[in-house]
């Protein structure tokens, strides 16, 4: 698949993708943690609600995000080392 090439000589500010990256990586992990925490406090500890679905969603979101985050961060490191 071909992508639009990016010109690197017109950067007056920090690039958008660099600013977005921490959010892209951390936000799904936080949501996954919150779902897990909700299941733990309102289902596992008190049995107040049936939140098995939340637990499953937390696990799915966490696993798939880690699967994609790891090669992304690895590629980032490799490329930045090459450039610096």
């Amino acid at each position: 698949m071909k992508y639009v090439e990016k010109r690197s000589d017109d950067e007056k500010v920090i690039r958008t993708e660099i600013l977005l990256t921490p959010l892209l990586i951390v936000a799904p992990l936080i949501v996954s943690f919150l779902l897990f925490y909700d299941w733990f406090t309102r289902d596992y500890l008190t049995g107040e609600l049936d939140l098995f679905g939340e637990l499953m969603l937390a696990v799915i979101i966490l696993i798939v995000n880690i699967i994609f985050d790891v090669p992304f961060i690895r590629s980032l490191r490799a490329l930045s080392k090459k450039k610096l």
């Binding site: 990016k6 010109r7 660099i18 990256t21 936000a27 679905g53 799915i60 490329l79």
Partner: protein
């Protein structure tokens, strides 16, 4: 003062020297979409409900405005990292993705919206990766199974026969939506809306078929204070 400016410039240069792999960036961007499920965790309080009602459309309007400015050439395309060649003169797929997510969050019951959003956020990049490494046949099989899992997880409270029906129809719709390509309508929209519409039909037909509809999967949180 000069030293501070020099340090800022040097830091900026170092940060900007980071190079991104477009392929993985797009995958991570997709997977990030699962964070939108946070919407359902927000407490059911008046002022938060007001935010839930207004903030998503406002974000979408901002995205539409930015996209319109990009297409008109008022904003440099270099601010939109990872665009594909065919998106250069067409609306970016991220906007289709956002429109579908907004429609699902605001107008569909969460039992339908959650698996459809997960199909676009998680199944789509998985299918893309399978297509990248193997072949089309494997894409259909793996994509169907992954989507099937998402529908089963969100409908596990329903009657077993209804869960099976919904899972098969939903997974079929998601795979069909992903594989059918149109130049003017992105697969990021189709993968969410095709199963959502099919499931909405089942949603209305289920009571007439003698099935009880399942309860919510994510419960609204409680105010910490």
């Amino acid at each position: 003062m000069n030293k501070i400016v020099k340090n800022i410039r040097e830091t900026k240069r170092k940060i900007n020297s980071l190079d991104f792999d477009v392929h993985w960036y797009r995958r991570v961007f997709h997977a990030f979409g699962a964070a939108f499920l946070f919407y359902y965790m927000l407490p059911d309080v008046d002022w938060i409900n007001l935010i839930k009602f207004w903030v998503p459309p406002i974000i979408l309007v901002i995205a539409i405005t930015l996209e319109a400015l990009r297409l008109k050439g008022k904003i440099s395309g270099s601010h939109f990292f990872g665009l594909r060649m065919y998106e250069q003169n067409r609306v970016g797929s991220y906007l289709f993705f956002a429109v579908a997510v907004l429609i699902l969050l605001m107008f569909f019951p969460q039992q339908i919206a959650i698996p459809c959003i997960l199909c676009a956020c998680l199944a789509d990049p998985i299918m893309g990766e399978i297509r990248h490494r193997y072949g089309k046949k494997e894409v259909y099989i793996v994509g169907f199974l992954v989507c099937l899992l998402f529908f089963m997880v969100t409908w596990y409270k329903a009657d077993f026969r209804l869960m099976v029906l919904v899972s098969i129809v939903g997974a079929f719709g998601a795979v069909a939506g992903e594989t059918k390509k149109f130049w003017w309508l992105d697969d990021d929209f189709m993968i969410q809306m095709v199963p959502a519409v099919l499931l909405l039909i089942i949603w209305f037909a289920a009571p007439a078929m003698g099935f009880d509809l399942p309860g919510e999967i994510i419960f609204a949180g409680e105010m910490p204070f």
